[in-house]
């Protein structure tokens, strides 16, 4: 245990707890936006994700993602059931007990599935979601985590993804789109409006997400050092800039400053800075935040006018924001911030940008295709969707026999 740092261990453990809290935070963020009759089902989906992916991760997920590399594509099953994952350090972080690294990573797998969950909002069979989640995390998340972070081919290509722009946000955002295409529009979509039932709940959720994101991004330094501090700073800066950008853009476009817009903007900024957090400085963070706020605003606007009912806009925020972040990392990455890298376009390193671009395309294509297949299969076997009568009565009653509010 020679090199293990107690301080780093403490930092990554608390970061783990903070990232764990993001899933309940996400549940509230989404929960506030759905109709009153479906709030419990969103919460159920998110909490079930936390439980289910946690178990999958210790059984096989961690090993598939980070186990001994098999031709750059997937990890072996040698660490199944956490065999051999103990208090000694691993090669992934020589300063941390191996367990700490593995459980920190676990929470990333959890939240990623939580993001996709939004595509199931207000119309999915609970059982189908569970089956989908299990398949998706195994067939999409685990490989992607391996490719980028686990010694796989995208990492070797030189793709930079500090805290999960590719692995977490693009993958979940594009998959949410794929799911929404298979599951179809909610009844009444574009016929009558779906009012969010509790925006203060969405605000609480955003608060918890923002808090947890400090663990997400700064924790990804895997050490309580200046790099983590920089990640903390740029994370907060990008979130703030994007929140303001969305707020003012919406104000200009719609005539009024929307709080849901500001909260969405904050999330967009957090998403976009995620891949970049360990590589860019605060000025770049302002630019990244600004672009994310602006582009994601229009992405949501466009989506909401389209015929696609990707109901809670995981695509327009997480995928679009993630793509922006991944590419902008290729532009703004700086070896001053992170001496371990050569820097991005702005430092004259075009290779980095190319690596980012290729990775984005690979992740988009892979996640979209495989998700489409999984969704179709689950649909064929279990039916992704409840019937019209059930949808009308709401998921809470028909899927869970429970009522949110008395």
């Amino acid at each position: 245990m020679s090199d293990i740092s107690a301080a780093d261990t403490a930092w990554v453990m608390i970061s783990t707890a903070m990232v764990m809290l993001m899933t309940p935070g996400l549940a509230l963020f989404y929960g506030g936006m759905v109709r009153r009759k479906n709030i419990l089902s969103i919460l159920a989906i998110c909490f079930a994700t936390l439980a289910l992916i946690s178990v999958q991760w210790v059984l096989i997920g961690y090993s598939l993602s980070f186990g001994s590399d098999i031709s750059g594509f997937i990890g072996g099953l040698d660490w199944g059931l956490m065999k051999g994952v103990g208090v000694e350090a691993s090669s992934y972080a020589t300063n941390l007990p191996h367990i700490v690294f593995s459980i920190f990573q676990m929470m990333f797998a959890v939240i990623t599935v939580g993001i996709i969950a939004s595509a199931f909002a207000e119309r999915a069979k609970f059982i189908s979601f569970l089956v989908f989640a299990l398949l998706w995390t195994t067939l999409v998340y685990d490989p992607l985590a391996h490719w980028v972070w686990g010694g796989g081919f995208l990492g070797r290509l030189g793709a930079l993804d500090f805290a999960g722009g590719l692995v977490v946000h693009i993958s979940s955002g594009i998959s949410a789109l794929a799911v929404s295409l298979v599951i179809g529009k909610r009844n009444g979509f574009r016929e009558y409006t779906f009012e969010p039932h509790n925006l203060p709940m969405t605000a609480i959720g955003t608060g918890l997400l923002w808090f947890g994101w400090f663990g997400f991004n700064a924790g990804s330094a895997l050490s309580a050092n200046g790099l983590a501090a920089n990640a903390l700073l740029v994370t907060n800066t990008a979130a703030s800039t994007a929140a303001l950008t969305w707020l003012f853009t919406g104000w200009y476009m719609d005539g009024k400053p929307s709080i849901l817009g500001m909260l969405s903007g904050a999330v967009a900024g957090l998403v976009a800075i995620t891949p970049a957090a360990g590589y860019v400085d605060v000025s770049s963070a302002i630019i990244i935040g600004f672009i994310a706020g602006l582009v994601c605003y229009f992405a949501v606007l466009y989506r909401s006018k389209s015929n696609v009912d990707e109901s809670l806009d995981a695509f327009a925020i997480h995928c679009v924001g993630g793509v922006l972040g991944a590419l902008l990392t290729g532009i703004f990455a700086s070896s001053i911030i992170n001496p371990a890298i050569r820097g991005g376009l702005i430092s004259g390193n075009i290779t980095q940008f190319t690596a980012q671009f290729i990775s984005v395309v690979v992740v988009l294509v892979y996640a979209f295709t495989v998700t489409l297949i999984i969704a179709k299969i689950v649909d064929a076997i279990f039916g992704l969707r409840v019937n019209e009568q059930e949808e009308y009565l709401g998921m809470d009653i028909t899927q869970h026999k429970e009522k949110a509010y008395a």
Partner: protein, 117 residues
């Protein structure tokens, strides 16, 4: 017997209630409603579209009273609930055929427990 149905500003409820109480009219039922009257609507926006809010929160008071109390009560309510501005509300008076007190199964005026009885 008549039912007086008054739709008033929520912030006037306490005052109206107190005035009724002082006149001896304890029994009443209150419902939170929303109403549209002379006001123009307001457009609301959210991420997935827009909708119009022209419904303002109001409070509905229902009081069943004997015929002879109707005028006194409507006057009393008008006086207390009025601010002189658009949105003060309306009172409607409707016939009631019968009243029953559940506890005792008394019927008619005796069941009202309101007014000078």
């Amino acid at each position: 017997m008549y039912k007086i149905e008054a739709i008033i500003r929520p912030e006037k409820l306490q005052e109206v209630k107190k005035a009724l109480e002082e006149k001896g009219f304890y029994g009443l039922t209150v419902t939170e409603v929303k109403g549209r009257g002379r006001q123009k609507g307001i457009k609301l926006q959210w991420r997935a579209g827009e909708y119009i809010i022209d419904l303002i929160e109001k409070t509905k008071i229902e009081i069943v009273v004997r015929e002879e109390d109707v005028d006194e009560l409507t006057d009393c309510i008008c006086q207390k609930a009025s601010t002189g501005k658009v949105g003060d509300g309306k009172i409607f008076v409707m016939p009631v055929k019968d009243a029953v007190r559940i506890r005792t199964m008394e019927r008619g005026d005796a069941a009202l427990g309101n007014g000078k009885i």
